[in-house]
Each structure stands twice: as C-alpha cells, then as structure tokens.
C-alpha cells in the first residue's frame, strides 16, 4: 500500500535535511575525536539522510522536474546505500609474513563487517623476497625509508601461476583483496626446528617473529613454546652491528655476525646458525635468521561504485549550476536601486564564460 504524501512530507522537508546534516557534522567531529566508532556514529545520520532523500524524491515535484537535481539526489542516495553495503562487508586486516613462506590466510588482526565473505584461505600466496632500501638521514636516529618492493607468487583455481610485486603505494590485488606493505612494521625471524624425542614425530620448523623494527630495536626478544612441548623458551637476538645507521642508509637485511640467546629457566645458551641445543624432551636446531614484513589487507567491493556515483553527483550538480546561470542573470531589479553607475555587464559576461 502506497503511503500518503502527507505522511512523507515531514520526512521530505529541507528542515529535516538540515537537521540530519547538522547531526552528521556532530557525528563527524565525534569520530575525529575518537569519541565514537565511525560505523556506528555515522550510521544514524546517514540512514536519516537516506530516508530524507527517498521521501524528497517521492514528494518533491520540483526536484523530480529538474533532471539535474533528480540525478544529483539519486546519486547521493546511491552513495549512501553503497557506503552501507561497504560497512557490512568490508575487511581491514593486518598480517606479518616471513620471507619465503606461504600466507596461511590467517590474519594477525582485523576489523570486518558482519557479512564479509571470507576467502583469504583460498589464496595460494607465497612471499618470494622483499627489499627495503634506506636513504641517509643525517641527524636522525636511523636511516630514512626509500623504496619498498615485495614479490609474491600465487596460483588461481585453474592452476595458473602468477607473480607480482607490491610497492610503496602499489598494492597486490587478488580476488578483490588488496595487499599493501606496512614497511614501518618489519623485523627478524629466527628459523628454529624442534626435533622432539618422541618416536614417529617429525621435526617441525617455525619462524619466530621478533618485535618490530626500528622502534623496538633495543628489545629484540620474545617467548616461544616449542611445538608439542610445555617448555617455555626465552629467545633474544644479539648482534654488534647498528641498525640502519642514519649516515649511510642501506638495505634492511639480517646481520651477518649475530647469535641467538636462548634461556630456559636459569640456563642460558648462545646459538649461531647451524647450532643445536639439546633438552630432555627434544633438540632445538637454529637454522638461521630470516626477515618478516607487515602487510595490511583490505577488501571493499563498493569503492569503485561509490566513486562512480560521486562523479555522477558532481556532474549533475555542475549541470544544475550551469542551468541556473543560463536561466537567470545574477543581477536582479532591486527596489530603491533604480539607477546604477556601473553598467550591468557582469551578468552577460558570466553567461559568456558559462557557455
């Protein structure tokens, strides 16, 4: 059953629009001040604006009579609906991937809409190699980040193999998932193999991620549980070389001269690449030092369509403006101003420039 226009009229009014815009203003400031989460803070004003737009299009004959204004308001409505779909399905995640290893599909952390169609585990994605070049940065604590390149290989469902590179502002896009490098989040990863003293159990190799560099460069230690063991080991990286000295720059690579400090309760051992350390329940084999790099992972299929609707909104607004300029001059006859010492040339010139 169709609603009576009189019921819709208050929802279609410009006063309601103004109220919603002011609400949006307040919500935006609240979000910027981190008083409220963006999705929930903006949901109400955007929903009210969408209702207002639908009602205005239904009730306002003048709006429907102007193709430019109608297109503008329909485009705005499309943007609001697409933004809502985007918030229900988006994914913002982050992950640390060790060089030379396969991405399991498991993220270190994420924010996602309730309807996000999870598909990261279907990506057969392997990190090949990454380069982080640093430039001299005199006077600073460490060198300045320059180029970033990270190479990946992946297979698609039909078995075809692809290879691609992520750069500083060039993501790798697979199945609408966009992988970006997060070069301020990187670090070293000791490669440890645990050979349990249990018959039939195969040795298991783990890449242990040490804290991120450069801000935690003086705290390169972490705790680690060998797989299948209750033992808790404390592992620290010890090396003499300075991390990316500011005077020289260079590339981010594992220090050649280093050793791993392993503590088990009160006992301490130093391991170099290839060394083994025996425990009651297994043998720890230090294979060497690898590197890990942080990535952000985004998924939002509405972005392109929001952009398209936005462009349509702008074009229709410009169309409305040109129509208005063409239709009526800006100078109007005004009571009490019967004469003007300035010739009325401005309106004509504005018409010319608009054409």
């Amino acid at each position: 059953m169709a609603m009576k226009p009189s019921l819709l009229a208050p929802l279609a009014s410009l006063k309601f629009t103004l109220t919603n815009l002011l609400l949006l203003l307040v919500a935006s400031v609240a979000v910027a001040r981190e008083s409220l989460p963006p999705t929930w803070a903006l949901a109400l004003p955007f929903a009210l604006l969408a209702v207002n737009l639908v009602a205005a299009i239904a009730c306002n004959a003048r709006l429907r009579g102007s193709p430019a204004l109608l297109t503008f308001h329909l485009a705005l409505l499309a943007m609001l609906l697409l933004a809502a779909v985007g918030r229900l399905t988006y994914l913002d995640g982050w992950v640390e991937i060790t060089e030379g290893t396969r991405f399991s599909g498991e993220l270190s952390g994420y924010d996602a809409g309730p309807w996000h169609p999870w598909g990261l585990d279907r990506l057969d994605l392997v990190s090949r190699h990454f380069d982080l070049d640093y430039l001299p940065n005199p006077g600073a604590s460490y060198a300045k980040l320059g180029e970033v390149r990270s190479r990946f290989v992946w297979r698609v469902a039909d078995g075809r193999r692809f290879e691609g590179e992520i750069r500083m502002n060039e993501p790798l896009v697979i199945d609408h998932y966009r992988f970006y490098v997060a070069p301020t989040n990187k670090g070293f990863a000791p490669v440890l193999t645990w050979e349990a003293r249990v018959s039939g159990q195969t040795p298991e190799t783990t890449h242990v991620h040490l804290p991120r560099l450069p801000d935690l460069r003086h705290a390169q230690a972490t705790e680690w549980h060998p797989p299948g063991s209750n033992r808790k080991l404390w592992i620290a990286l010890d090396h003499e070389s300075e991390f990316l000295p500011a005077e020289h720059g260079g590339d981010f690579r594992a220090p050649a001269d280093h050793h791993l400090v392993v503590r088990d309760g009160g006992q301490r051992a130093e391991l170099r690449p290839g060394d083994r350390l025996a425990f009651e329940d297994g043998v720890l084999h230090y294979q060497g030092l690898n590197r890990w790099l942080g990535y952000t992972v985004r998924w939002d299929i509405t972005t392109f369509w929001i952009l398209a609707a936005g462009v349509l909104a702008v074009l229709s607004l410009a169309w409305f403006l040109v129509e208005r300029v063409m239709r009526s001059p800006w100078r109007t006859a005004e009571p009490g101003r019967s004469t003007s010492p300035v010739p009325d040339r401005g309106a004509a010139q504005l018409h010319v420039s608009a054409r």
């Binding site: 006063k15 103004l18 502002n169 993501p171 301020t184 985004r298 939002d300 607004l317 410009a318 009325d344």
Partner: protein
C-alpha cells in the same frame, strides 16, 4: 637550499599585493577607483610568485606540495590567479578587491615568515592524483575567496559606513545571488577534491577514508557548504545572513587548508612516516 632569488621575488610580490590592496581600499573610501593599476599590480605580483615557484621547482626538483611554506606559496598563486581572472572578467564586482586583497597580502606576509626549507616528497606523492586533487582544492578555495569578497561587501554595507563606499556596486540581493553561485562552484570542486583525495588515499594507504585530521576537517567543510546552501534555500535568508554563512564556511575551509597542516605538520597524518 639557496633561496637567494626566490625570496626577493616574493618580497617584491608582497609589496605589489599590498600596494594593490591599499589602492583598492582608498579607491572605495575616496571614490577614485584605480582599477587598471590594481589589476596591473595583482598581475605583476602573480607573475613574480609564478617565477619564484618555477625557480624553486627547478632547484628542488619537485613542486610546492609538502611543507607549510609550499602550501602557502601555491595557494597565494592559485588564489591570485582566480581573483585576477574574476577581477578582469566581472567589472561590476571589482570593488571586492578591497576585501580580497588584504586576505592575499596577509597570506603573503605569513608565507615570508615561514621556513622555506624543502622537505622532499614522500613516495606516495609520486602520482598524477596529486595534481588533480590539489588542483580541485585550489579552485574550490578560489571560488570561496570570490564569494567572501562579495559577502564582505554585503557585510561592510551594514558596518563601518560601507554603504557609501560600495554604493557603486549592485545591490545586496544581486551580490548575495552571485556569492551563492560561487559557493555552488565551490561545492562542485570541493566534492571533486574529496573524491579524488579518496581515490589517492585508496592507492597510497589502502583506505579511501581514514578520518585523519585533514580528512575530517575537509568533510566538515563540505557539510558546512551543504548546510549553508540548504539554509539559504529553506529559509530564504536575508543577504546579510547569507553573507555571514559564506564567511563561516570560508573560515572553516581556510582552517582546513592552512590550520590543520600547520597543527599536524604534514598535509596528512602519516604522510611522511
């Protein structure tokens, strides 16, 4: 960097803008408008600022896009250009020079006390979206500056005896209508700026919107523009109220361009991280 040529050019440009502004104000007070001289001084100042930008660009190898000094110099250039074209093409509103030129020469003065050292461009600035995004932003602010000139005249007519000084201009209703049209132009380009900025952010940082201080302030400016236009349509405002709204939107827009980067030190948070 050696600024031995760039800074003297800017000092001469400041003198030209100041002289143009003083002449425009005195012309309105004493009823002797020296429009050709004012236009000549503004055009000359614009030429000098253009030359200073070219010299700096050649020396540093990148455009004026990063530091506060660079944001100021590029905006002085774009605002001067938009104002000079408007002044040339719309003779009936030339007296707005008395309102607009003080804004320009205060910006020039601010520019000359700001550190001119270059900082380099971050890798995310290596994209053509930079030029498109910033270009739209400059047209938006330029349109708003002309609207402010018109609104300023409407307000001055109600204050400080401005009704006599600006008697030769069209009436308040006409100026209000023209200011509203420039605000609409501003809305179009502000929207384009937000859209292109979002595309660039998606490319550079993987999110088209992140509520960083500059993004938030830009969005608040856009909503203020929308509110001012809807207020005008809804309540059929008197010209003096409409003019006050134009001023309010310009203040927020100006703070977005020059206040937020000044507070956060970079155009966008994390840009130089």
């Amino acid at each position: 960097m050696n600024h031995h040529l760039e800074l003297p050019l800017l000092w001469i440009a400041l003198l030209a803008y100041t002289a143009a502004g003083v002449l425009a104000i005195l012309g309105q007070i004493f009823g002797r408008r020296m429009e050709r001289t004012v236009l000549g001084l503004v055009t000359g100042g614009l030429g000098l600022v253009s030359l200073a930008i070219v010299l700096r660009w050649m020396e540093l190898g990148y455009g004026p896009f990063a530091t506060m000094y660079e944001i100021l110099i590029s905006n002085v250039w774009s605002l001067s250009l938009i104002f000079a074209v408007t002044y040339w093409r719309l003779p009936p509103i030339r007296p707005i020079a008395a309102v607009v030129l003080p804004v320009l020469f205060v910006m020039m003065g601010w520019l000359l006390v700001t550190d001119p050292a270059g900082s380099g461009l971050p890798p995310t600035f290596d994209t053509f979206w930079l030029y498109i995004h910033i270009g739209f932003a400059k047209v938006f602010l330029g349109a708003m500056l002309v609207a402010v000139g018109l609104a300023g005249v409407v307000l001055l007519r109600h204050l400080f005896g401005g009704r006599v000084a600006f008697a030769s201009m069209p009436g308040d209703a006409s100026l209000d209508e023209l200011a509203y049209r420039f605000v609409l132009v501003g809305l179009v380009f502000d929207t384009l700026m937000l859209i292109t900025g979002a595309i660039w952010a998606q490319d550079a940082w993987g999110r088209y919107w992140g509520w960083d201080p500059l993004e938030t302030s830009s969005f608040v400016t856009w909503v203020m523009l929308a509110v001012s236009i809807h207020l005008r349509v809804t309540f059929k405002l008197r010209p003096v109220v409409g003019a006050t709204l134009v001023m309010a939107v310009f203040v927020v827009g100006f703070a977005t361009f020059f206040g937020i980067p000044f507070i956060t030190e970079t155009p966008h948070q994390g840009t130089f991280g």
